[in-house]
Structures are given as C-alpha cells and as structure tokens.
Symmetry: C2
Subunit: 249 residues, 2 copies
C-alpha cells in the first residue's frame, strides 16, 4: 500500500495544492491503491518526511535539507520519495504494468515541459497568494507567511501586487497561458499534450487549474474566471478530461 | 526537388546560423534530396521569400511582414515554408515515409522544448554577437548591425557585455545549459533527447553548438571552449552523434 502525503486544507474533502495534485493525478491514473495522510502546512512536513525516511528535495542556504510535499511512502518496497516528477519516475519503474506517466522516449521532453510551463508564470505567481491564504488551514497561515517572507527577504504581504503592477501581472499570466495553449494546439486535436492519452505534463497543467478552481470559491476575482475560461476553452476541456483522475482516496 | 535557403557565410562551404542549421539537420536526417541556395544576410532575404511565395514569420511594428530564414521551397508541391518548426511539421506531413522529426504524440512536447531551450539564454545571447560579426559576410555586417540596433532601440555594439555583466552572462549561460543537460540525463542514456533516436529538439540544441563551433574559429574566447566541453561531455557527445547529419548539399 502506498501512503500519499498531501496538504490539509479548508476545502472539505478536497486537496488544493498545485504540486500535490500532480501526484494525486499520477496515482489515480495508474489506479494504484493508496491512502492519503493529511499533513499540515507547518513543521509537520519535515517531521513526517524524516520519520518515513523521505529525502529532502533541496537545500536551505544553511546547508540543511528542505522538505516538501508531495511525498509518498511505498510499503511494498520500503521506499520514500518526494518531488512529483521523481515520484512519477519511481511509479513508472516500480509498477511497469500500469499506464506510463512518462511514456518511453518522452522522459526528458516531459522534464523540459515542466520547466517550460513553470517559466511562464514569472512574478505572476504572486497573484495566487490570496487564493493560497484562503485555502490553507487558518492555523497554518502564520507558518506560510513567516517561511515565505524569510525566503523572500521581505514580508510576503508587501509583495501582493496592486494597481498597474497587478494589471501587468494579469496580462503576463494570461499571455503565458496562451503560449502553453499554442503548444497544446500542436497535439493533433486531443485534450492532452500527447493527444488522447494523458501524461505527466497534463497533470502539471491540471494541478495549476485545480488549485485555481479550489481557490476562486473564496476569492472571486473576475480575472481568475477569465483564466479558467480562456484560450478558447482549452483549459475547461482539459479539466473535463482530467475529472476522472480527481478521485479523493 | 526542395530548395533550402540558407545564409552565406565566411566559413568556406559551411553554414553557420543556429536557426538554419535546424532545417539542414532536418533535411539530412530525412535524406530528402535538396539543393542549397545561399542568401545574403541583407534585403535579399525578403526579396527571395517574396519571389518564391514564402510567407513572413512575424510582423514588424508597422504591420508589414518580417521575413526570416530558414525557408524552403518544395517544387513537387509548389509550397514555400519558413520557420524551422513549421518546416519540420511540413516535411513530416508531406513525406510520411521518412523518419519523423516530431515523433507521433510528441509534437506539442517538442514545441514546448524549443521554448524551454531558448528561455535558458536570456540576455546571454549578447555573448554571441562577436561570433556572428565574424561569421557574416563582411558586406552583410552593416545590415545586421543596423537592423538589430533598430529593433533594440540603441546601437547593437553598445550592449556588448563587459566586466561584471559579462561574467554574469557567462555564468547564466553555463547554468542554463546545465539545466538542459539535466533534462537530457532523463533520456535513458542515449545521446539524444528521446534516447537513441534523434528528433527536432536535438537539432535545435545541435544548431546552437554548431554555430558556436563555427564562431570560435575566429573568436577564441576561452569561455566558449568551456561551454563546448562542459556538462561532462554531454554536448561533445551530442555533436558527435549529429555529425552524420551535417552533410552540406
């Protein structure tokens, strides 16, 4: 049995984090049996990972390990893995008879895709702060603001974009997503990046839109609605095609 | 017979441009018969394209078409195409029995790869100006400097990086290429992005390194040598694997 570590949230029975979504989609797509262990967005992340022997995903400036979710612990192999892309590679290798997240020959292209997709956001990730603050458990908000502020070197709430800067960030976010739409247009017509079969890249894009869908329930900014319905329905269509992999276990 | 429009250069019998290289690799990989028509980097580009009915690849601020190479004209279908990625898609479609540049299902991922690769350069493309100035026909240098300066809104030679900025750009360029190397590391061990079979993405990367190899013959900056030999021999190995597709016709 696989244990999947996901973030607890205010959305009842629902995950919200764009990164842990990537792994939930992955597990559901492969129809692997798993159970979710809900982790608070707090010191609990590091505690749980250390307890299960799940390695850190990067280093802090002081050289100590930084722990993040998603993470899994696989009982059957006694293996802990963190980072959605590493988890995808682990699952493909360990369960070779399940549908591939990184189809043969595309592993490197999928990795480049993740980089290309993330690079489209630039500083417009700041637009998602209000969503995140509403989705985190109220008891976790302080931890999030404190650790993010430390990483930024200034108070997180100071960087919330306003006025012209906010306009520019919306414009940049929408333009970036339209570039991603132009990539999808080359896929031969299916809802997924490789056509009619989903792969990890779709779960990366889907994770972002699932996060937005969860967030706008509390933060009804009209721009998010435009994003969700934009690019001639591309993201709506992708969301519908991904629905069957959104089961909560 | 396909006519391939490439830039004339000071390198005897050799192409140099990173973008036209993508198409030369493509044609050679497919073993399609073609002849090269050498075009000067000057008003000749637009003249030749217009004459052959090859469409522009973008628009100038005044709304008129901007013409670029690579371009091809295919006698057998009376079709002119410009832009290396559009040419690749055209060749795959028109000659379905030749090896695929964009293997089925990867068209969108390859497109995203091109974006991801180009995004690694940022302002460090400025480091390549000295190479380009040596590779262009002397009679074309003025056209290049003039049109680039107009696009930049300041004299091209003013942006040649020096001192600390130059150091920073080298660092950024090398770091960017190391990220691309990390993508290649996921390919299962072959020299190419999809493993042992080349695809368009490799020709994009190969085009950059072929340009550098041609350029450093005249501009022996030690940093370029480090780039060519960097990333644990990744680019040397890729270059060797691509050699057989570098025939000049």
């Amino acid at each position: 049995m696989i244990t999947f570590y996901d973030f607890a949230s205010t959305v009842p029975g629902k995950t919200f984090n764009p990164n842990t979504w990537k792994t939930r989609y992955s597990l559901n797509y492969k129809q692997l049996p798993y159970k979710t262990e809900w982790v608070e967005f707090s010191e609990e992340i590091e505690k749980v990972c250390k307890k299960m022997g799940i390695p850190p995903t990067s280093k802090r400036p002081d050289g100590s390990g930084a722990y993040t979710l998603p993470a899994i612990y696989d009982d059957s192999t006694k293996t802990g893995v963190a980072d959605s892309l590493l988890i995808a590679a682990y699952l493909d290798k360990t369960y070779p008879d399940t549908p591939k997240l990184l189809p043969a020959g595309t592993e490197a292209l999928q990795t480049a895709f993740v980089d290309a997709f993330m690079s489209k956001f630039g500083s417009s990730w700041q637009l998602s702060i209000p969503l995140l603050l509403k989705l985190l458990l109220p008891s976790n908000v302080d931890f999030y603001v404190r650790t993010r502020s430390a990483a930024l070197g200034k108070p997180l709430l100071d960087i919330l974009p306003v006025g012209e800067e906010r306009e520019a960030q919306w414009k940049s976010l929408k333009a970036g997503l339209s570039v991603v739409d132009a990539w999808y247009q080359k896929n031969g017509g299916g809802p997924f990046i490789m056509g009619n079969t989903p792969s990890f890249a779709d779960f990366v894009v889907g994770g972002f839109f699932s996060f937005v869908k969860a967030g706008v329930q509390n933060v009804p900014e009209p721009e998010w609605k435009e994003v969700l319905e934009g690019d001639n329905g591309r993201w709506k269509k992708l969301g519908e095609a991904l629905e069957k992999y959104e089961v909560m276990v």
